[in-house]
Symmetry: C2
Subunit: 408 residues, 2 copies
């Protein structure tokens, strides 16, 4: 058994998460808190006095003195493109120097360079490159993350990406949730033949991917896939056993939230340009809004998603990093939280809920992770000082990360 | 002797820095670069072939294989309030939850809580708390930093803060540059008697502080000190031997740049609200614009300083962290660079110049630090991969920090 006690602050995030009438961020820390777990499962959480009254530490109990520290649930990162090959860092430098996307693409950069590198990479090479990124995410407190396909855009590579996710799940501490997104972009060989590519996704990729993926995603936005195409793809995915989620309104208010509501998507992601009708669709459809402020920041979109409007409308907000080779340069949920607080005017408590229980709900795992309550998996982040210290960027606020009760 | 060779990229930043007709950011990396230093001083820098041709490694030479890494000059942080006592992190949480500055002040928070804690702290306690922060800054690649007084607002405490700076200078690797800023705020005991406080600064504090400080600073802004008061203080400081620098236009275009030009200040800092007349004053007065995007971000000012306008006008731009207890939560020059690139539309090269040679110039040390050229001190940051990786927030791009040739 593991007992961490005398924590300055324990943010159990208990009783929070998406539910009717709830105010996001309506949580308070327990002072002099404690958590006990056994076999990776929480058996008690509360004040040190409460937990001590219920748990008698035995000979095999490891007791950790948490004084000077806080504990929060392990972060759940519900939107990443962490599996890819190649490196586009020099492209970043050139983009900051003013190169247009067209110029970068003409020089062999952009998403197609990632597609080419990923198609050329073996399963072993992809897994090795991805493992390095997962270690960075874990060090930043992420204990569960979604991971998408989408840099293959052909059936064999899409399935290989999903195999990499399966292979890495269990080979390192961070738990992965696999998502198929063959409709991430139209590959060059289908340029000007988008309808044919959509048929390929539905007829060939979805049956091949379904055994390997829990979710089906689509990039529904201006210049990518239409609401009609997205609906057809997500419905085909659902028939094959993959639950729907969606990229929506990153570049324009373009119908993604309405598609999400219509197909019963668990989460609609990005939403930088969502309008009032989109927010109402999300609310009525009980869709979680997963916001990716690091993407808006790195792509210099000039604005963030309207987090306050979403919260005011009662839409549960989750946060994610959007780790990806072209604009998702930070592996860190705490950085997403910092942008949420300082850029989207969320409170610290709202950002914490968004990064834990709401993010777990966005992956349909709210019953097992996302809060520190008895019966749940003990995934947690130990913070030096007050939990709000997590917002200190490029400092080292994290003292330790626990996954299933084990210090990583 | 130390020889680091085969670096993927060596950003020597040679020939850059404030000078007439120069374009900020007009630097290029040396591929397969090398630097040699002896006794903490650079003796050669260039391609590995060039350096090897000029330097014969001897028995006492440590040769470091830089493959897979880049090297940039050690960062110079020309604006910090790193010396203070107390902790205002819970105030941050409350501020994010919507508490007004007045509410926070009424609850005992705000700058006065720092003044009270700093007045009550011994020199030893202040030094100990500050040393922890300097270690964080050093780990982020800062090898030289300015440090201000300004939380005493009485003569004894102001001098004690400057003594702490002197004491820490040499007691740890990061070099400190002391600045007196008695006119940082009007203390409570002088409320409604601002003119009397200005007299106290000029007649009592400046003579007492001058032996301990290289620079004299003043918070010239709406609601703080007027241009006339600021001019009087900076001129008195100069007569006592302290060079002038200034907090200007953070809250409003309020005459600070004009004061800077008139008194010959080396640097005007913040400039979030600088207007065209202010920019012209800085240009004509050859004043360096030191921008503090972390402060604008953390205080949610809603905008950043107009870096592009300043650069277009030929004003040299430097970057700083503004580490302080109320809004300077990040110890990291790379985070200031990330905000400069993604928030102020600076290029990576402009941000690097701003964080090295221009920042050194803002502290009048451009002849000794700020670039990797023979004769200069070997202060440098070793980066994993390409130098642009420094912009990856909450990752760990820094592999090592050298101060005077020693790996810290």
């Amino acid at each position: 058994m593991l007992l961490i006690e005398h924590l300055d602050q324990l943010y159990a995030v208990a009783g929070a998460g998406p539910r009717a009438g709830a105010r996001q961020g309506d949580i308070t820390p327990i002072v002099d808190g404690a958590v006990a777990c056994d076999g990776g499962v929480i058996v008690a959480a509360g004040t040190t006095a409460d937990v001590r009254a219920r748990i008698a530490p035995g000979r095999d109990t490891t007791v950790v003195d948490g004084r000077g520290h806080s504990l929060v649930p392990g972060f759940v990162d519900p939107h990443t493109h962490v599996v890819f090959a190649g490196d586009r860092r020099d492209e970043l430098r050139r983009r900051l120097a003013g190169a247009s996307y067209a110029e970068i693409a003409a020089a062999g950069g952009g998403i197609l360079s990632t597609v080419n590198a990923t198609r050329a990479a073996s399963e072993e090479a992809l897994a090795a490159q991805t493992a390095v990124r997962l270690a960075e995410m874990l060090a930043q407190g992420t204990t569960t993350a979604e991971a998408k396909s989408g840099y293959g855009l052909d059936t064999a590579t899409e399935v290989r990406m999903l195999r990499v996710i399966a292979r890495l799940n269990g080979a390192q501490p961070l738990e992965l949730v696999p998502t198929f997104i063959g409709a991430h972009e139209v590959p060059p060989e289908y340029r000007n033949r988008q309808a044919e590519f959509v048929r390929l996704v539905i007829d060939e990729m979805i049956p091949a991917a379904a055994p390997h993926a829990e979710w089906c995603d689509v990039f529904c936005d201006r210049g990518f896939f239409t609401p009609e195409e997205s609906t057809a793809i997500l419905e085909a995915g659902a028939r094959a056993g993959m639950k729907p989620r969606i990229h929506a309104d990153e570049l324009a208010a373009s119908g993604g939230p309405q598609v999400a509501a219509a197909v019963g998507a668990r989460s609609a992601d990005h939403l930088v340009r969502v309008d009032a009708a989109g927010i109402e669709a999300l609310r009525a459809g009980r869709v979680i809004a997963t916001l990716l402020p690091c993407a808006a920041f790195h792509l210099k979109l000039g604005q963030f998603a309207p987090a306050r409007d979403l919260i005011a409308a009662g839409v549960p907000v989750a946060l994610a990093t959007d780790v990806n080779p072209g604009g998702g340069f930070s592996p860190s949920m705490p950085f997403a939280m910092a942008l949420a607080c300082f850029g989207m005017h969320m409170t610290f408590e709202e950002a914490l809920v968004a990064s834990t229980i709401n993010a777990a709900a966005a992956l349909d795992r709210q019953d097992r992770i996302g809060s520190l309550e008895p019966g749940k998996q003990f995934d947690a982040v130990l913070v030096r000082g007050a939990a709000v210290t997590l917002l200190r960027v490029n400092a080292s606020p994290i003292a330790g990360v626990y996954k299933k009760g084990v210090l990583c």
